[in-house]
Symmetry: C2
Subunit: 360 residues, 2 copies
């Protein structure tokens, strides 16, 4: 009994100006055929039907989810009234699903990931769900074999084998490292004993709730108050009351790292957390000049460029390299590629200026 | 009897995407209050009234001239049916004006120059016109004292004094150098004995015509055929027939350099031939980060930038330097500042592509 929750409540600041307050990155076509949310939904469709899929998001994005996923059944939206990171988000979804389908297995997935090998992804997902039936006390991470010494991701260390499911080996996880320095990232990548933590989780909802009870009682207490309303019409009112009072914490820190039983499966998923413009280049293939050009672009002597614009706009580049150029019609970003993280500073400036707020 | 001709037939390729086939740079506001043409017209207004001003331009730009200079009298447009450089343009305007006002003095000015000190410019203009009455056999250049070793301009060497007009000294010109190398440009600038040739000329129309007769008979011959129609209704038909058959040549090479009598006046005009985006920085004052920003621009850690966009467009820059960024709504240019000359290559590419021609 696998239920999938797609977490679609983020705001994607660093992908401004495409990612906007009113339409964050998961509702935009960034690196795939549809929007990132639609692609995530399509990716799991061969494994679970729409009746087993939920989407968690913010109150302002409900309309966008309905518009982009018209087949999602009524009531399959989990509306989080505040941004509280993945800890409370996971707790809430497990509370909801466990209350209605006791004993269910939950896959909790991001909506803003690129997965270049969806078949491999689905094989891991199914194998993890099967493993959860045999070893329900474990938390399962869908891990990605590192392809480069990335310092922006979390890594997990593989220990011994927990079990095998078909062709897949499920490894016990021995170690967590968040954003290692380059030297360590190199060692991890070369050793073959580490995986990227892709923030794609499979677990028994009951196991997760027990871990919150033990390691994050301040979240669990409020969860209980919500849980009492989980099968009644009072559900959303209870969420609106209790959720904003929960601490903002990543699920990794809240329960995964403290947990005694964590396992990981591994694959070459061509996966990427498209968190910044520069990260696009990690998942999409550049042309021979190292350029990722989308739209009507003419480049004279341009290299290592990431460029995108509206369909009818001509973007001409002369003698430039290592730039991100993103035009959305009302706003334009020109950014050095190795400083793509600093797009956040632009967004901060806009937020502080009444005249520029409308560009958020 | 001073007549002024403003040459407004150019196409301003290197200022794409602002300068367009349908609206070249002289019809755009680039560095002043009005468009460059309007600013040129306003600059001479205290010296000559509209009844003594003519504008030469191409057939496609007649409407723009009328729109931008509504006070220009009917018939004060000289329509050149083809681009033939300044040689034929000057010949044609002198032929027209000499036929109608024998003995007149003509000032022939570009429409795409920036002049930061219009008072000084007007003083030179009037002094040159006065000198032409005393020494009608001379060609007069309004020269600019070099402020930097510019390699893109032409230089003239000052010889001895021809005469004085009020406070102004008129120098005999001994030497012409087009686009010297940096070392020579440095020597010229430091010596104080050279001036920039600003392509602003004052001369007797008759003197010019005689020089064409002597040094460019292939132009003069066709001029005679036009001249016969100069005071009749057949004028434009004659121009349309003869002008395109003239060789394309700069007035400098056609008559000024071969002439025995050339003089120059000199001033600190804060003058600039705004021929490329980079040249804007030579005439406008940058902020303390070296940026010339026009429009709604937010720069985080940006230096030596030349940026302009539509009024309502937000342009955000992060960590970039030495760039030209010009957004016109339908087209965007991002160019390294020291390669601003290469914008021409973009325009060439557009011209060769039926799908992109509309961006010319």
């Amino acid at each position: 009994m696998l239920k999938v929750v797609i977490r679609a409540g983020g705001i994607g600041t660093r992908l401004w100006p495409l990612s906007r307050k009113g339409r964050p990155k998961q509702f935009q076509a960034l690196a795939g055929r549809g929007t990132m949310l639609q692609d995530t939904f399509s990716r799991i469709a061969p494994v679970v039907g729409p009746e087993d899929v939920w989407v968690s998001t913010g109150p302002g994005m409900v309309g966008l989810v309905r518009e982009q996923l018209p087949v999602l059944p009524e009531g399959h939206l989990i509306v989080e009234p505040a941004l509280r990171n993945t800890g409370p988000a996971v707790a809430l979804e497990c509370a909801l699903l466990e209350a209605r389908w006791p004993g269910c297995t939950v896959a909790s997935l991001g909506s803003d990931h690129y997965v270049g090998r969806p078949d491999d992804f689905r094989r891991l997902l199914s194998a993890a769900a099967e493993a959860a039936e045999d070893h329900p006390e474990y938390l399962y991470l869908l891990g990605v074999r590192p392809t480069r010494p990335e310092t922006g991701y979390g890594y997990v260390g593989k220990g011994d084998e927990l079990c095998r499911v078909g062709e897949e080996t499920v490894w016990r996880v021995t170690e967590f490292t968040e954003k290692p320095d380059l030297e360590r990232a190199r060692q991890y990548t070369e050793s073959g004993r580490y995986l990227w933590n892709a923030n794609m989780f499979v677990w028994k909802a009951r196991t997760v709730l027990d871990l919150f009870a033990r390691h994050a009682p301040e979240i669990y207490g409020r969860l209980l108050l919500i849980g009492e309303a989980a099968v009644s019409v009072g559900w959303q009112a209870a969420v609106d009351r209790e959720y904003p009072a929960m601490p903002s914490i990543a699920v990794d820190h809240a329960i995964i790292e403290p947990a005694a039983h964590v396992a990981a499966l591994e694959g070459d998923l061509n996966w990427g957390d498209v968190g910044s413009w520069a990260a696009l280049a990690d998942v999409l293939e550049a042309d021979e000049e190292g350029n990722l050009l989308s739209g009507r672009v003419v480049a004279v002597d341009g290299r290592n460029l990431i460029v995108r614009g509206p369909a009818e706009k001509l973007i001409a580049l002369v003698g430039v390299e290592d730039l991100v150029v993103v035009d959305t019609g009302d706003a334009l970003l020109v950014c050095r590629r190795d400083q793509a993280q600093r797009v956040r500073e632009i967004v901060d400036r806009l937020g502080g200026d009444p005249e520029l707020e409308r560009y958020l």
